[in-house]
């Protein structure tokens, strides 16, 4: 049998388990996007706040996460923290790998989102806030009605890139046995040793997923672009 034919057979054979892995990857990524957006928005406003009770924790969070590798964050979260709890309380503490994966990815993505959201808000002209405030609108009203609608258009494109990065980075969760796309590829290779066809297939499934996200994002950007008569 030719090499090509054997590779094709492996690619077909690995495919069902890659699809199952892709579902996990999508699941983890979707939840992490959702929670990461919430965390990122909170941290962004925290960093923009004049009050140090909000500002300092937000800055520490963002700097710590952005200054350390996701891989290490995964290890800390999955092994380090349960170990710490065990050491402190004497009780065995286990955490579901998928839950841990979603949590770490959310926390990680939130820090990057925070910078994106903060930059978006800051790049809206100062005069906009002043005009809104001079009309008697409160800070909150001005944010909601005037600043955020303009900031969102600046925020969406880099946020989209962040989502794509998140989807790819979720492959690191293989290290804590989350059966996502890469992990399932690895499992197949450990049984068959067919590394080339299996990992190429893994790569193509990622490519399909990221292209899918790009399309959705382009669509959203276009939709927002239509209602944007300001530029």
């Amino acid at each position: 049998m030719s090499l090509l034919a054997s590779y094709l057979q492996h690619a077909i054979a690995v495919f069902p388990s890659l699809l199952r892995g892709a579902v996990i990857t999508i699941e983890v990524t979707t939840f992490a996007i959702f929670f990461g957006l919430i965390l990122g928005t909170i941290a962004a406003f925290g960093k923009l706040s004049k009050r140090s009770v909000f500002k300092i924790p937000s800055s520490i969070y963002v700097d710590f996460i952005r200054g350390t590798p996701l891989f290490v964050q995964i290890l800390i979260f999955y092994y380090g923290i349960p170990g710490l709890i065990n050491g402190l309380t004497g009780e065995v503490f286990r955490i579901d790998p998928i839950i841990a994966g979603i949590a770490v990815c959310s926390i990680n993505s939130g820090a990057y989102n925070a910078e994106i959201v903060r930059a978006g808000i800051k790049s809206v002209d100062r005069g906009q806030m002043e005009a809104a405030r001079s009309l008697g609108m409160t800070e909150r009203q001005s944010m909601k009605e005037v600043i955020m609608p303009q900031a969102v258009r600046l925020i969406i494109p880099p946020l989209g890139n962040e989502f794509i990065a998140l989807l790819k980075d979720s492959s690191l969760l293989a290290v804590i046995s989350v059966h996502e796309l890469s992990k399932n590829g690895m499992l197949y290779v450990s049984k068959t040793f067919a590394a080339f066809p299996a990992y190429i297939s893994v790569a193509f499934v990622y490519l399909a997923l990221t292209m899918g996200i790009s399309r959705v994002l382009n669509y959203i950007e276009r939709r927002l672009g239509v209602s944007d008569r300001s530029e």
Binding site: D125, G136, M137, E145, V146, Q150, S227, R229, S230, E231
Partner: protein, 240 residues
């Protein structure tokens, strides 16, 4: 209407306002002139608390603005401001720009707010631009919408910070005309401007500011043709 007593404002070490005392009567139109950096904008911005005064007191319509317990937003509702760079909201139509604050701040029902906005657009001669976004308007038109937007809150005082200096010369007139109409209706106005024609025609008084104080004040005639202070004279000789 407006009373300012020994107003000081510093940014860090930089002293920008060094003791401004001034009384402005109802329906008065006061023009403020002075060199760049003399503190004209800062003075206006203190009046609606866009800047917090370092010391001194301000009363507007009997209300002590500088009282720490004062509701800043309530004060701002009564004091309209027009900016050099218009600062219209780019994501809203002209009509929505005007209607937003009355709806959000005064709680006006939508229909009423839009009716009021349409009337104001008519007043500034732009009734056909209701559904246009700011970036499709000329500078002069944008500034007229900005004036309408400030008027929509029915303020007792209007502050103008160089409302025509970002405009092409051919558009200055249309904005000044709107302001003249407003002055004739009895609006109390403080206008930072170097438009002498405007100051002479509708200004009751002119204040000349330099280096954080009011150096000289008087009627437009007195200031423009018979200035006493050397600094005033030298400034006027540069702009005339």
């Amino acid at each position: 209407m407006i009373e300012v007593n020994n107003l000081h404002k510093s940014f860090g070490k930089l002293k920008v306002l060094k003791g401004i005392t001034e009384k402005i009567e109802e329906s008065e139109v006061v023009c403020v002139i002075g060199p760049s950096g003399s503190g004209k904008s800062t003075f206006l911005r203190c009046l609606n608390l866009l800047e917090t005064p370092t010391s001194g007191d301000i009363w507007i319509d009997g209300e002590k603005v500088t009282d720490p317990k004062v509701d800043i937003n309530k004060i701002r509702e009564e004091v309209g401001m027009v900016f050099q760079r218009f600062n219209l909201f780019p994501h809203m139509t002209a009509l929505k720009n005007i209607a937003l604050a009355p709806m959000k701040v005064r709680g006006l029902p939508e229909k009423e707010a839009y009716d009021r906005s349409r009337d104001l657009l008519k007043k500034v001669g732009l009734e056909d631009k209701a559904d246009v976004y700011p970036n499709s308007l000329s500078g002069g038109q944008q500034q007229r919408v900005a004036i309408a937007r400030a008027l929509a809150m029915r303020p007792k005082v209007m502050l103008f910070d160089e409302p025509t200096s970002a405009l092409d010369p051919e558009m200055v007139g249309e904005v000044l005309n709107v302001m003249k109409d407003l002055a004739k209706e009895g609006m109390t106005m403080i206008v930072v401007t170097h438009e002498m024609g405007f100051a002479r025609e509708v200004g009751n008084r002119v204040l000349f500011m330099d280096d954080g104080i009011i150096v000289e004040k008087g009627t437009p005639q007195e200031i423009f043709y018979n200035a006493q202070n050397e600094r005033t004279k030298s400034f006027l000789s540069k702009i005339l």
